[in-house]
Amino acid sequence: MKTVRKSIASAITTGVIATALSMNSFAVADGKVKLGILADMGGTYADICGKGCVTAAEMAIEDFGGKVLGNKIELVSADSQLKPDIASSIARKWVENEGVDTIGGLVSSAVSGAVSKVNVDNKKITLISGSASNTFTTKTCNPYNVHWTYNVVALANGTVKPMVESGKKNWFFITADYSFGHALESVASKVIKEKGGKVVGHVRAPLGTTDFSSYVLQAQASGADVVALANAGNDTVNALKAATEFGLTEQMDIAGLLVFTQNAQAMDPAVASGMRLTTGFYWDIDDKARDWSQRFEQRHGGIPSMIHAGVYSATTHYLNSVKAVGSDDSDKVIKHMKQTKPDDFFSRNAQLRADGRMVHDMLYVEIKKQSERKNKGDIYNVIKVIPGEEAYNPIQASCNFS
C-alpha cells in the first residue's frame, strides 16, 4: 500500500514539474501597451517624483489620445518607497506577470538600477526620468535603458565648473550615501581637480537624514571655500537648515548640486538667494513650457519639477515610437526612439543617443531674492543655456547600442 502511494505521488510530482518547466513565463509583444510608473509616494523625494510623476504620465497618455495600436493605453503605478528590493519585486511582478511594457518615473538611482536589471532580463525598456547617476549609460549600460531629464555629469559640468573657475578652489562634500550621491561626488571631484581645485574632505549622510548638524560641523572644521551638497530633495533642504543654524553660511559658500524647484521654493530666500544651480527644465522658460506647466499645476496643485516634465516627455516619445513602428516589441520601439528626435516643450535641441542618454539643453539658473519674486513659483533667473553636448559626457564606445 505504502509503495503504491509513493509511486503515485512521485508520478504526480514528475508530471507536474515537467508541465511546469515546459511553460515559459516570457512576456511577449501582445499589442497592448501598458506603462508602469514607479515613484516615491511618501518619502524624501515625494514632492519631486511622487503622485506628480503619475499625473505627468496620465497627461502624456491623454494628450496622445489614450489609444495606440487599436487598444487603450493602460497605466499602473506603485510606491517604490525608495527601496531597491521593493522596486525590484514590483517590477518583476509587472513585467513577468502583468504584461507591463515599460517602466518609467524611477526616482532614486538605487531603485532605477534594480528595475533596469529586471527589465533587461525581460527585454523591457526602462524610461529613467528621476535618477541622476550616470551609471545607466556607462558602467551598467544596456540596450533597453533610456535616461531622460538630467544626470550627474550635467550637474557637475553646469554648477561646479563655473565656481572653480571663479576661484573657489577648496571643496568639501556632504554626500547622500547611496549610488546617486557617490556618483555625483566622484564626477564633481573630477571636474574640480581638472580645473585645478582640491577636495579637502567629504562626509556621507544616509538618505533621509533629518539632523545634519554633525556633518555641518565637520564641513565647518575643514576650512573649505565651498561646501557642496551632493544630495537632493529634503536632504538638501535639511542640510541647508543646519548650515544656517551653525553659522556655516556666513563662512563658506554652499553649492546645492541637485536642487529641484520644490526644494528651492522650500528654502529660506534669505539664505538661498544667489545660489546658482543647473536644471533640466524650468516652467517659466518659454510659452510652450508655461502652457504645459499651467495645465500640470491645475491638476497637481504645484509647479512641475524637471522630473515631472521629463516623465511626460519620455512617455510621449515612447508612445510616438510604438505608433510609428506599429508594435510594442521593445527592440523595434527602442530602435525607433533612438532614430527620431524627441520634440516637445521639454526637449530642446534634443536627441536620444545610441547609449540611451537623452541629450538636451540644460539651464544654468540663480535663485531669486524674495524681493524679485512675483509669485510662489517665480524662483529662478535663467543665467544661460548650456548646450547638450557641453553638458553631457560623450558616448562611451562599449555602450554604443546602435
Binding site: R5, A9, I12, T13, V16, I17, T19, A20, L21, M23, N24, S25, M41, G42, V76, A78, D79, Q81, K83, P84, D85, I86, S88, S89, I90, R92, K93, E96, N97, S109, A110, G113, A114, K117, V118, D121, D177, Y178, S179, P206, L207
Partner: protein, 307 residues
Amino acid sequence: MNDTKLNLILLAIALVAPTIFYPVFLAKILCFALFACAFNLLLGYAGLLSFGHAAFLGTGGYVTGYLMINTGLSPELAIILGMIAGGMLGAIFGKLAVKREGIYFAMVTLALAQLVFFFYLQAPFTNGEDGMQGVPRGAVFGLVDLTNNFAMYYFVLAIFILGYWLINRTVHSPFGQVLKAIRENEDRAISLGYEVNRYKWVAFIISAALASLAGSTKALVFNLASLTDVHWHMSGEVILMTLVGGVGTMLGPILGAGLVVTMQNYLSGGELGNYIHIIMGIVFVVCVLSFRSGIVGQFLKFKRNNF
C-alpha cells in the same frame, strides 16, 4: 486525519500551485515560511523571543549573493556557505544573549542585530542602500538552469522541505524534549542536571542557520540582497508571522508566513501601500490581546476539546 496524510496533501498542493499562481510569489512565501519555522524553533520550543532574527536572514542573503556574483560557485554551494555563515553569526549572538532571559534576551538580540545592520550598511561589498543587485540564479549542480521561474520554485520547495524536515527532527528528538522542559520550567531543568544555557545556545545556532538558509534562497529568487532583510522591521515581521499562525506549532508559522506575504503582496504596489504597517500593527495587537495561540493553535485547541 494523521500528520503524514496532512503533509502529503500539503505537498501535493505545493507541487501544483505554480501552475495557478505566479511562481516567484510562491517561492517568496516558502522562503518566509522557512524563516518563520526557524524562528519558531526558538520561540515555540525553547521559549526564547529573539528580536534580531533579521540579522541571519540578511547574512544568508549577502553571503550567498556575494559568492554568486564574485566566485561563480554553483547555487547549492553558495547557499550552504550562506547558511554556515549565518550559523556562525548565530553562535556569537547566542553566546552573548543566552546569559539573559525574557525581555532582556529580546533586547540584547535586537541590539546585536542592529550592530549587524550598521555593519552591512557600511561594508563596501553590500553596496549599502543600493543593495546587492544582479545576483545570478545560476544552475543547480551545473544542470538545472534556475532562470526559469518554475525551476526556481521547485528548487526552493526542495530546500523548504529539507529545512522543515530538519526542524521537525530537532523538535521530536531528545534534544527537543529537553528544550521544551527548559521552556516549561527552567529551574527544574537545571536541578535535573541539564546545562540549560548550552541547550539554548545550540537551539539558537540551529535556528540562526536555518533562518540564513531562508535568506540565501530568497537572494537567489529575487536576484537581490538588500538592507530590508537585515532591518529590525524584518525581525518584527517574523514574530508576527509566527504569532498569527501559532507559536509552538509546526504548521502555524507556514500559515502565518503565507498570510503576511499575501497581504503585503496585495497591498504593496497599490494605493494601500501605506496601510501595511497599520494593518500589521492591528493584527499584532489583536493577536496578543485575544488570540495568543494563533490560528493553528486555536484550531488544535478546538479539535482537542470537541473530538
